[in-house]
Symmetry: C2
Subunit: 360 residues, 2 copies
């Protein structure tokens, strides 16, 4: 573009625009200077079920309940208790999903790291000789143990792929960079038997964060580069609250950033700067990076984090796809593990296509 | 996916989930049944300037004013008066943009249709032998005449491309399908001198709608298929208010759907069913369709329309890209015509890459 407008001219343009009192973008509707303006406030409203989503998703949204603010634990013992309380229903859902999807697993220590080897009923030909690496979500603190099998089972079944789900070490006992170190350790073992570019790493939320950070770390260590990533609604900025934390609060069952979620960032970073790129990948300088597919929803508290990271990769000319589901909140695409959900199947199709293109 | 869960089992699963009172998505955070839940309401809030946007965009957002509800015209004369009032500042901005970007134009009738031939200072080698077709936005009623040159100049300058901007006939005097007919007429002339697959059609908002509808129409008429489309924040559902009309109201200077915008849909459709696919492209059955790049923002009242159409094309395996800018409202990407705006340059880069891939 010709950006040859000097400062003075820019000011003149701004003045002129103010004078004619146009709204930006004036592309569409412009208003005369006599109109009364409202300030930039979201007023209270009830939000109806979105048009144009599946009946199945509509039913989920109509039974939606938003997480209330819970008291923040004040010591390790309380954090561990909360971890157990949060993960219990997750394990129950994982068991339902495993049974429903006919996915099996076994525990295995890989170079000292706890993992689950997760296998679908039918392994697709493309995935016979490879394992995908799963990094579970759960705000860095939660979502471990068998509760991690929810997303692992979803991908294993959806793609017909064998998945190693890393049960990485977590705060409060093991803060950053323990989780990344654990995934790197598994990565080192994996690439002994399969080419780096033929495998993928994937995860949602904090799992998306660690997927991105681990990829940066293994690039830094010269351990090759995965062939592709699936990064679902990732937390990429633990320092600043991205816009959708503000705009969509009240629509996403995840609740709010203030309180427990914000505290998990502190617990995870354990005094490291929150703009450390391995803690907040949005602050990374990206040079080369593997092809990455992002998924989020228009009611996702991490929508802004997701689109910011997508743009950050695209600015570095990384091959990166963005898929946004209308009306979905944080991680909603995974609900297909417990109920028929067309949007969930659609997301699997996108991930599958993307992996087929880049690693199969 | 194995969707072999029968109805009975599905009910059992639902009951079980209700019993353990998990939140969906339980992937991340799960709550015990004793917690108190809020209902699905957006409560009033002030929304701060988004983290992670350019200083230039931040400045625009901090001076943002939201369009108030204006009285709806009650007859053709009032509509025409409003048209003139709305378009006047748009023409002024177009003139600023043309001067700033060193883009020139001349009026030309093509087979009886009014158009502007828009030429950048330097035509890129890839575009020497072709013209792109521009369909301006403005809620079907507004944005015509020289005010259409805003977006035409943006693309002409950004891509170094020659652009034919169609000054299509509009309501109240010329409702649907006059606009589509006019673009089809221009298309017929264009393909006399350049291969259909080497050109692109593009437009924003109502212009995105007409871009999509015209493409369907020319496919139906057997007049070939454009090589690519750029569809910016399109209005694809004039029948139902997509979710972001509800969730983001108050953040987008476009204002609200109720009132003038809703009435422009009626004026445009003039009694035709609003779910006619040529009026609301989201209701089209898509078989084959040209590669399409979509752009929107997280504060765009038409974010939901945009992502719905992206998914609709993807469901038919159409090559379609989605780029979402954090904090941007309806059509904000075009603000680069009057001020330096990194996000605007970035959008140009995406459109340019996409067109290079598909038509150059």
């Amino acid at each position: 573009m010709n950006n040859d407008l000097n400062e003075k001219t820019a000011t003149e343009v701004t003045m002129k625009l103010k004078k004619i009192n146009i709204l930006i973008p004036a592309l569409l509707i412009t208003i005369s200077s006599s109109a009364a303006f409202a300030s930039l406030t979201l007023t209270e409203r009830k939000v109806p079920t979105p048009a144009g989503i599946s009946n199945e998703l509509a039913q989920i949204l109509e039974n939606r309940q938003i997480a209330p603010a819970l008291p923040v634990p004040t010591n390790n013992e309380e954090w561990l208790k909360l971890q157990t309380a949060f993960d219990a229903p997750g394990i129950e859902i994982a068991n339902i999903a495993l049974e429903r999807l006919k996915v099996t697993y076994k525990e295995k220590q890989i170079a000292g790291v706890d993992t689950f080897l997760v296998t679908p009923e039918n392994v697709a030909a493309d995935y016979e000789d490879k394992w995908l690496i799963h990094v579970h979500g759960g705000a860095f603190v939660f979502g471990g143990g068998e509760s991690a099998l929810r997303e692992a089972a979803w991908i294993a079944n959806g793609l017909g792929a064998q998945v190693i789900s890393v049960d990485y070490r977590k705060p409060p006992l093991n803060p950053f960079p323990a989780a990344i170190d654990d995934v790197v350790t598994v990565w080192k073992e994996i690439i002994k038997t399969q080419p780096p570019e033929s495998t993928a790493i994937f995860g949602t939320s904090a799992g998306g964060n660690i997927t991105l950070a681990t990829t940066m770390k293994i690039q830094e260590l010269g351990l090759g580069t995965p062939g592709a990533l699936f990064v679902g609604t990732p937390a990429v900025d633990l320092k600043e609250a991205s816009d959708s934390w503000h705009t969509l609060k009240g629509l996403d069952p995840l609740g709010q950033r203030e309180g427990i979620i914000e505290e998990t960032s502190k617990l995870y970073s354990a005094g490291e700067d929150l703009d450390n790129p391995l803690i907040s990948p949005i602050y990374a300088e990206i040079d080369t990076f593997p092809p990455t597919v992002f998924i989020s929803g228009t009611r996702d508290l991490l929508l802004s984090d997701t689109v910011r990271m997508h743009r950050h990769l695209r600015a570095a000319d990384v091959e990166a796809e963005l898929h946004i589901y209308d009306g979905q909140s944080h991680g909603d695409y995974i609900n297909g593990i417990v109920t028929n959900l067309p949007e969930s199947d659609d997301a699997i199709k996108e991930i599958s296509n993307f992996f087929n293109k880049h690693i199969n």
